[in-house]
Symmetry: C2
Subunit: 400 residues, 2 copies
């Protein structure tokens, strides 16, 4: 018998409860133990819950219950979750989380405490919902030098972009539909401004490099300013526009960024539509791998959380494969030093100057201006050239 | 220091050697140990190899070397590989294999011996080359009731089908090109007749159900008889034709089969082209997941083999998550009892009879005959109806 506690009985927390209950027999077969949720911490009341006796509002009820080995933290936010996680790990309990903000901000601290107490801090559900991506990087691809991890890491924005691209919908309309369907929050900032994707790519690249990539320093652009004209250009270039969390390691330097990118139609990422997520992992031996599935939702996220619980039941001791340490800014590549190919939109009257700066460019006519593919150069150099022609209407990086 | 031996220094075996050498530092960081290949067994001579002193033709040199904990078996075939694997496990050494035929035929025996000696028998590389699929099923998705595992499990046939579909090439021409490029063997039987895919789906469904699915009893049809006309019908149905290893569990019964299937363009499998492989896993909580990458090749396959080696260095003790036992025919669904939707091709003169048997069908005109989508029914019932109209020219199952 393994006793489990849940902190935060919202969408994900209640999904974890349901998964452990529904798949009781399967979990028993897969772990050799019966898993049982014995405590749930939440500030709200659940008087009608079938097991209302397991609910508590006092964190100490969990912390001091020595029968509990594993605690699932699905409350979100940082302040309380940080304190709780720290205390639980120090008490020798393993913690599983779906809280990307917390992992991105304080992961390195928790790994240290977990190591000291020989317990585990796992976070598969913090990136890509149901999609296995943390454990594949830590285990399956462990024989590789991982040179890239990139992907569509946010379902809300992918839904909006899919609507805009396939149905020629405006950004505002697509967002409204996403909100009506429950895919986007009333305040969609965290999704549409790329903050959610930024935390996820930070976690992935921290794991790959074993050094913290500080999400607050990651260059992040959302999808708010994309126009249907951008999408028309993309189609002409045989591409789609996707919000990409893009991480790579080159010459010992690590890069992480989030921005809408032109994804060529021959990339497996281009056919990832609607609320689905997908992550590309490139290893020096494995080549290109892709992991695809539902990046959010009650049960998909719970699937990943309980998968981590299963891992801990099987292997309760600390595992350094999942950790990272303090950040190492000297190993990070500044956004402006990324060398990339861009599509640039300008006004017609800038054409002659653009030709002078960029040489022999092929022009694509848009409705309100025109565009061209700039040759590969550093973003710094690109922006200097664009400054010299009076600035671009917009510029979009190609996913390589 | 972990000493490793390799049996069979062909494409995969030499890739394993190269991976361990090239990624030495990464492997050290990821396992805490230095991995070293100390013996290679092969009947051939490698007089020019930089470490020619580690080669041997005598199996006992490996078996009796107590410094070797992990042996990689990449020799292929069954006869010798079976004996070697058994003896190694009995001697308390863990074995990692890429040999799908051996795993499919004798896995259950090896798991039993591995359990008795508290060592491991791992086989990630036997399915899907570089693509993580065995460990995801055993670990990442362990909180799920897995209801389906299906996929494009053979790169050679997928390459041929891609050529036929995108370039309107004939089967014979496409096969010839595949042979010229080294994607297909001189004798392509194992690939084009679906034998390779059959072993892989058998392994996957054995793992999912923990009972052996005997590959020799799996209904298997290859791609030899597909015509460009079949592909034209597929396009008209908004589908592609892919060779699918299809496994599912329904009402407690397990089904495994291999056949060319009509894959709707909105399925993520439909955009998997060329030599790439992809496997779909459906769980009752996770929903649809897909794992995509290179299904063959020296280094991609070695990536998976060495990933298993890393797993064993980290967790050397037996792990029941990867095992299956003897087959349980009473839990297997016969092919003819599968309920599915089919596309049926007939000759024009059969149309009236077909309408009588199948009711209100919508006709699609081909070049040499015509076709229609039969309503969902058991394959037995379908074949009875087809018998009553004098047999079909061909029939193709829809991937659901």
């Amino acid at each position: 018998m393994k006793n489990i506690a849940i902190i935060g009985f919202g969408v994900v927390g209640s999904g974890v409860y349901e998964t452990i209950k529904t798949n009781k027999e399967i979990l028993k077969r897969n772990t050799g133990e019966e898993l049982r949720v014995v405590k749930v911490l939440d500030i709200r009341d659940f008087p009608d819950h079938e097991e209302k006796q397991i609910f508590t509002k006092d964190f100490n009820d969990l912390l001091n219950d020595e029968s509990i080995d594993i605690v699932v933290e699905t409350m979100g936010g940082v302040r309380f979750a940080y304190d709780y996680t720290k205390q639980l790990l120090e008490k020798g309990k393993s913690v599983v989380t779906s809280n990307k903000e917390l992992v991105a901000k304080h992961g390195e601290e928790f790994f240290k405490i977990a190591r000291e107490h020989n317990v585990r801090y796992l976070y598969e559900a913090s990136v890509g919902g149901a999609i296995p991506i943390i454990r594949p990087i830590a285990c399956d691809v462990a024989a590789n030098d991982i040179v890239e991890v990139s992907g569509i890491l946010n379902g809300t924005t992918n839904y909006i972009l899919t609507k805009m691209f396939l149905e020629n919908d405006s950004y505002d309309n697509a967002l409204k539909t996403a909100q009506e369907l429950g895919y986007a929050e009333k305040d969609p900032t965290a999704d549409v401004d790329g903050i959610d994707a930024c935390r996820k790519i930070s976690i992935l690249m921290s794991l790959v490099t074993h050094r913290k990539i500080d999400s607050e320093k990651v260059h992040t652009v959302g999808i708010r300013n994309l126009t249907t004209e951008d999408l028309t250009y993309a189609a002409a270039l045989d591409c789609k526009i996707k919000l990409i969390g893009c991480g790579f390691v080159e010459n010992g330097k690590v890069s992480a960024s989030v921005e809408p990118m032109l994804v060529p139609n021959n990339s497996p990422l281009s056919s990832v539509e609607d609320v689905f997520n997908a992550a590309i992992v490139k290893g020096n031996m494995a080549g290109t791998l892709m992991f695809y599935g539902r990046g959010a939702g009650m049960l998909p996220t719970a699937s990943a959380v309980v998968g981590d619980v299963v891992d801990i039941v099987r292997n309760p001791g600390y595992n350094s494969a999942y950790e990272w340490g303090e950040s190492a800014p000297e190993n990070e590549l500044a956004y402006e030093d990324i060398v990339a190919k861009f599509f640039v939109c300008i006004k017609e009257e800038q054409l002659e100057k653009a030709k002078k700066e960029f040489g022999d460019i092929e022009i694509i006519n848009g409705v309100t201006g025109l565009g061209f593919v700039a040759p590969k150069m550093s973003i710094k150099e690109l922006d200097e050239k664009l400054g010299a022609i009076g600035g671009a209407v917009s510029r979009l990086r190609f996913y390589r």
